[in-house]
Amino acid sequence: MIDPIKPPRRKNPLLRTRLPASPPRPRSRTSHGFTRAAAEGRFMLQRCEACGAFAYPAREACPSCLSPALAFADAPRQGTLLAETTARVPSDVYFRERAPWRIGLVKMVCGPTIVAHLHADCAEGAPVRMSFQLDKGGQAVAFARPEGDTPNMADDRQWREMTADPKFRRVFVTNGRSLIGQEAVVALKAAGAKTVFVGVAEPWRPFAGEDLLRRQEGVEVVTLDAADEKSAADLAADIGGKVDILVNTTEYVRAGGLLDRKGTSIARDEIDQAYLGFINLAQAFGPAMRMRGADGVNNSVAWVNILSVYALANWPAFGAYSASQAACLSLSHCLRAELRPGGIKVMNLFTGPVDIEWFQTVPPPKVAPRAIAQAIVSGLRGGLEEMYVGDVAEEIRQRLAANPKALERELDK
């Protein structure tokens, strides 16, 4: 059983901030099948399509029958911890700083044995459940947890290295005018965030839900117009060193594609708000977050984007909006690479049409803003990189994987 982590003390401004280090990153190309699984929170192993045997580590041919048909498939998570050890003097800087570090060898029910990071409550000879997590280098690693839940489970030191749990962290929700933003504030506070900063543009203009936002304890309303470079920079000068998790809830939804619009003014607004707003936020807050990736219990850990699933496949009815989202998606991959040295996760949350005014004419199912807020919390707790929220988003994901052309034709209706 592990003790709950304590709320971090106020930072001593005289002390040097420890710089982030990365665990070993090199992997074979095939091994990135685990990266994909970890990004989505799935547990996948290679499974031989010829003989059905599971294999691990990543291979190019089946060790049971030499078939090259080794596809990554969802696999049972159960295993037994055969033996453990605690590395006390690792040769690598990241682990040396975090030693003692506990690992073990797990015999999986489905066959292979896996070297894994261990949750402190795992015991030799006892059953464990396995997952792939993204470590601070952004690479997939196997992590064994006890089969059942244990007290303060998420506070485990090694587990917390893999996740972006809001507990005791300071979160910045960029747009408090949106329903998603307001729900995110509530959910993140409920998840144990110490402070939630919430951005509001033109704060003298009243908005629905404002009272609730301002009344909540531990919530600080701050002024931010993400589309305005100076506004973002000014705010970062105030709170940039205290943002451990940034949730980009910028929202600018307008219907229409190309031919039924006149000129570029709406498209320009979409780009200003979503795309350039993203750039402004990244340039204002990214560098400090990257510096603070190893800054104690409330280190900087994650950047969350809420994206339309139509970033992945254009929906002509909202065609220009889809394009602005696609631009943001591409930018998120750039941001992920640039925040990587800090060990900061960039989590993209894809959603279908949300139950808000701007999707008024779209038939259900629509995603409730609260569901998105809950997904943000569970994604941070699980240390995920990609999430699909709601039935529409999940369906688009599957159809895209199955046949992108079919999806393109069918979105045109």
């Binding site: 665990p23 070993p24 990153r25 090199p26 992997r27 074979s28 091994s31 691990y56 580590p57 990543a58 060790p63 055969l82 033996a83 453990e84 050890t85 605690t86 590395a87 006390r88 003097v89 690792p90 040769s91 690598d92 990241y94 682990f95 040396r96 030693a99 570090w101 506990r102 690992i103 073990g104 060898l105 015999k107 044995t113 896996i114 070297v115 894994a116 990071h117 030799e124 470590d135 280098g137 690479q139 690693v141 196997a142």
Partner: protein, 392 residues
């Protein structure tokens, strides 16, 4: 498929055991160490470099070089060449290949050499780049290197067979006693069992004195036919038998035995000797628990009786079971791939009667084993050789 009968080694001998004394760190290259060893081989055997017509090399730190680059580097013109990247099994594997080469007359004199340098950062780089499975599925887990991997094996082995740290420690302590007689051993201070037990943990249950010290050095020997040695007037040991096995017992969930257990019958049958007949034994001691495993798998006792065997025997030079008489890697140091050669080269000196201060009296029949390549969760390569001195 029926297993075929192996051809016996007929008049194959090993001569000129060479050790280039180790240093903890070296600013020289692996090639420098290998060159020293080749030079010593030629000098000790009284031959010309041009007499060497076969070359077998092992090293972790040669950079982009393999055996072929070394031929030009050292001005050797050979008609048989091999580079063996088998870590701790390199010496046995190299010996086996060289023996068959000279037996088939593909070569007359094969120089087998292993050498590694140890720069301040060499060891970490070797750990990082050891193998694909290691890179993908071991090193990112705490970066504990071989210590962590063997810790898992050791922990399981010790728990399964009720082995204590004290049992394992006896091996390390005995080897230190041997090392105190070897002027080339890097460890020069005596080691008591109390000190062994009190050492700081590295990766539980592996503690400091379970670990070898990475260093720089080189080892070498010559393989030839008996008549070649005779014509050169070279004292030589006869090769009686060898075994080699890779990825044995893949279905064992954890390693509790090495590949030796698969081939042990053949090892002694081919040599025509029994374990009891051996005068000296040199095991591959990257960790003492692996040595204990070898005592079982090489037939000195049954599986699970390793601890009892160690308690019942004196493993020092003057003891009833002289073992790792130079002090082994645990006390001499591990010079990369040369660590694979250390036991065999010392064993050859023993049966040739040239071991000097570590000489076991009347040693004529020896065994040396190798173990290597913890690719993922276990050591994959194993091998052993039995050889006899001229007095037998």
């Amino acid at each position: 498929m029926k297993k075929s009968q192996r051809t016996p080694y007929d008049g194959i001998v090993i001569a000129a055991p060479v050790t280039i004394p180790y240093v903890r760190y070296s600013i020289e290259s692996a090639q420098w160490w290998i060159g020293r060893a080749l030079g010593a081989l030629v000098a000790q055997a009284g031959i010309k470099a041009s007499d060497i017509d076969g070359l077998c090399v092992s090293s972790f730190t040669m950079g982009s070089d393999s055996g072929i680059g070394l031929t030009q580097h050292f001005g050797l013109c050979v008609r048989w060449l091999d580079t063996i990247p088998l870590g701790g099994a390199s010496a046995i594997a190299g010996l086996r290949k060289a023996a068959r080469a000279v037996q088939a007359r593909d070569a007359d004199i094969v120089a087998c050499v292993a050498g590694d340098t140890n720069h301040v950062d060499s060891f970490r780089l070797t750990l990082e780049n050891f193998s694909r499975f290691n890179q993908d599925a071991v090193y990112p887990y705490g970066a504990g290197g071989a210590n962590a991997s063997f810790a898992l094996i050791a922990r399981n082995y010790m728990r399964t067979f009720g082995v204590t740290r004290e049992d394992v420690g006896r091996i390390a302590v005995a080897q230190r006693a041997n090392a105190l007689r070897n002027p080339h051993a890097l460890m020069k201070a005596p080691l008591t069992l109390e000190q062994y037990l009190a050492a700081r943990p590295i990766s539980d249950p592996i503690h400091l004195f379970d670990c070898v010290m990475p260093c720089a050095g080189a080892e070498a020997f010559l393989v030839m036919r008996e008549e070649t040695a005779a014509s050169l007037g070279l004292p030589a040991a006869r090769l009686l038998s060898t075994i080699e096995r890779h990825n044995a017992f893949a279905d064992d969930p954890m390693q509790v035995r090495g590949g030796w257990a698969m081939d042990i019958g053949e090892l002694y049958a081919m040599a025509g000797v029994k374990p009891d007949d051996l005068d000296i034994v040199q095991t591959y001691d990257d960790y003492p628990v692996i040595t204990m495993m070898q005592f079982e798998d090489l037939g000195f006792c049954k599986k699970g009786e390793g601890a009892e065997f160690v308690r019942a025997h004196d493993l020092t030079i003057d003891g009833d079971f002289p073992h790792n008489t130079s002090g082994g890697q645990l006390s001499v140091g591990q010079a990369g791939a040369a660590g694979a050669y250390l036991g065999l080269v010392e064993g050859l000196r023993q049966v040739l009667g040239t071991a000097g201060p570590t000489q076991v009296s009347n040693a004529s029949l020896g065994l040396a084993s190798g173990f290597g390549m913890i690719n993922y969760d276990r050591g994959l390569a194993s091998g052993a050789a039995i050889f006899a001195g001229p007095s037998r």
